[in-house]
Amino acid sequence: MYKIIRKQVLNPTVTLMEVEAPLIAKKAEPGQFIILRVNEDGERIPLTVADFDREKGTITIIFQIVGATTELLNHLNEGEFIHDFVGPLGVASHIEGLKKVAVVGGGVGCAIAYPIAKKLHNNGCEVHSVVGFRNKDLVILEDEFNAVSDVMRMMTDDGSHGTKGLVTDALKELIEEGNQYDEVIAIGPLIMMKFVCRLTKEYNIKTVVSMNPIMIDGTGMCGGCRLTVGGETKFACVDGPDFDGHLVDFDEAMERGTMYKEFETKKREEVCNLFKM
């Protein structure tokens, strides 16, 4: 059992939790993920490590309430326990030697992009952050990004905060202004990462994306998380979650992500009704 020591509502659909998991906190690096089960009969879901504190022995997760399990998780409070919490899984992001990087985050993906931006910044790398949200109510981690970025571009779809437009608009501008990036790191919805990659391909800038497909065990056992990268089948859990974005078959990944959509929608309604009673 893993104790929730801090819970913070970041926006109406996104929650942060700091969880006691000393063994994982000792090892975790940006880019890695954990798998949790909320309760005894719960499903296993992967969540990326948003932050870690080796001394306190805690792992921070940030999740969007999208399905039954995240709904249940969101109903837990400080002092309560998550049944299972395992990790750190996956390969940590490779950021050694990078001097100038554009970090692109979309929506809750910013929760994963932030620790990477922070580590880059701490390593002395010049960080240009481009973060995008649907509207101002959904913005998360703005101050945190500001603190670790040399250049910061806030974008919203409706212009209610920052500049109106897509992250690709801002990234294109930065590139056109003459910024030479060693690498672009893009983390967010698949469709966003697909279009970021399409853009950076034109400029021939290496782009790394973080994939978050459906998974069960997270150790290479089930193969449910497989993706096509450069024509080869890869397992996101052990080969990733970071991949060369120019090689990822995003269309296939988007299709695979919808496999249980109907089940999920129904299940979440059931869970919501449970809490309404």
């Binding site: 009969d41 990790g87 750190p88 290479g220 449910g224 052990v238 496999m259 999920e264």
Partner: protein
């Protein structure tokens, strides 16, 4: 006078058309009368060839003699001297190629039903015994076991009985390994596995779930933590695919994923949080026990047509005869000598069919089995909405990639000698992690051998 009937007492089973709609155990187990009658078939012969056929060398005639005396607890104690998981082995061991294949009664007629008797004894013990296991006196030495599957649990049990302080590390949230994620409830009820794990805990074995060795903790850190010998029983869990077009369509599963969803995550239960696709027609590709398990699960989940697609003939299938027969009785359709070449999908990328070619058998290949050769112009399509790939697994690379000095072969299996000793001092390995995918009992045998070697190793150092 021994019972000279040429036939075994038949195993009572659930009717095929009832059981293919539920997940309750298929084989119901002998009654006391049947067990006594079957025990009378053992001639208690001098040579005891059956013992040589058992990977953990259970004194089979001795436990059967105890059954004849109606001393069922005594029979259990005989088995327990050699096996830590009798209720499991009585169910899933391939006795027909092991102990029973050596039984002299098998020369003329059927051998003694050793497996069924073992199961009877273990179930009797679990139902009647109230005595708590005596906790052995501790010898002050610590051993770590990686993986709570058949080899790891066996190794842990034996070491605990010798007085070692044993900790088992398990990556999943539940101990049991393939016994809980792979073998379905109807073949091995999970309560039995839990009971065996509880027995080990009663012996003082600590089980740490949610710890991935190679990620959460590395092998070298275990030594730093004071573990003097380490056993790796991490199994062969990495699924293989065929690399044919369409394998990433929605509705294509590895057998591991399909079975894990159904068994470990209990997707077969109404109200489970873990989804599984509801299908009308399922093709399971492969001919092993795992393929049979997947096919029979698919049938129970409500699929109308379930096919086993296998590129060789039924003779060449690696699955146990009993599993093949049970599958057939339950209505699984066997498409042998057929090889998939492509999986077809609709515009939403859901599976709609599997394109196969017919095969014929040529000369024997390296495995000794006749090599399947494609028949020209024999392509055809089976309409299915789900495909389960059950063509084997390889060992997980996590430990070998994070541990220095551990040698592996070209298949990624750890190299270990007959005692389980790896290329690294103090590190032992066994089960599928060494042999590649094999059986529960062979893994248990390896765990047992390694426990003995670990004991000798630690003693030699102190």
């Amino acid at each position: 006078m021994p019972n000279m009937s040429l036939k075994k007492n038949e195993m009572p089973v659930q009717d095929a058309n009832v059981r293919n709609k539920n997940f309750q155990e298929v084989a119901l187990g002998y009654t006391e009368e049947q067990a006594l009658d079957e025990a009378e078939r053992c001639l208690n012969c001098k040579n005891k060839p059956c013992i040589g056929g058992c990977p953990v060398a259970i004194d089979i005639p001795a436990f059967i003699a105890k059954i004849r005396e109606k001393d069922f607890e005594g029979a259990y104690q005989v088995i327990a001297q050699s096996s830590s998981l009798p209720a499991v082995c009585g169910r899933v061991c391939p006795q027909e190629t092991q102990c029973e294949s050596k039984c002299v009664r098998g020369i003329k007629g059927e051998p003694v039903a050793i497996g069924r008797l073992e199961r009877f004894v273990a179930d009797w013990h679990n139902a009647h015994s109230t005595e708590a296991a005596a906790v052995p006196a501790k010898n002050g030495h610590k051993c770590a076991i990686i993986g709570a599957g058949p080899s790891g649990l066996t190794c842990a049990g034996d070491l605990a009985k010798m007085g070692y302080d044993v900790t088992v590390f398990e990556a999943l949230h539940l101990a049991g390994g393939v016994l809980v994620y792979g073998i379905p409830e109807f073949r091995l009820p999970k309560s039995i596995v839990q009971h065996e794990v509880d027995n080990l805990k009663a012996l003082g074995v600590k089980v740490e779930t949610n710890v991935v060795i190679g990620r959460t903790i590395e092998v070298d850190e275990l030594f730093e933590q004071g573990f003097e010998a380490i056993f790796i029983g991490s199994g062969a869990g990495l699924p293989r695919f065929m690399n044919i077009p369409g394998e990433n369509l929605k509705g294509v599963y590895s057998a591991n994923e399909f079975l894990t969803r159904v068994n470990l995550m209990k997707a077969y239960k109404d109200g489970s949080d873990t989804p599984i696709k509801k299908n009308t027609s399922v093709a399971v590709v492969g001919g092993g026990n795992v393929a049979m398990d997947a096919a029979r699960c698919a049938k129970r989940l409500g699929a109308e047509n379930v096919y086993i697609v296998y590129r060789r003939g039924e003779e060449e299938m690696p699955a146990r005869n009993e599993e093949i027969e049970h599958a057939k009785e339950e209505g699984i359709i066997f498409k042998t000598l057929n090889n998939p070449v492509e999986i077809l999908g609709n515009e939403h990328k859901f599976v709609t069919g599997i394109k196969c070619v017919e095969m014929e058998l040529g000369e024997p290949d390296a495995s000794g089995r006749r090599r399947p050769i494609e028949k020209p112009n024999s392509e055809f399509t089976l309409d299915v909405d789900c495909v389960v790939m059950s063509i084997g697994t390889s060992p997980n690379p996590l430990i070998r990639n994070t541990t220095k000095g551990l040698e592996t072969n070209r298949h990624g299996c750890f190299i270990a000698d007959d005692n389980g000793q790896t290329s690294r001092e103090g590190v032992f390995a066994g089960g599928d992690a060494v042999t590649g995918a094999a059986t529960v009992i062979l893994a248990m045998g390896a765990g047992k051998t390694a426990a003995k070697a670990m004991d000798e190793y630690i003693k030699s150092k102190t």
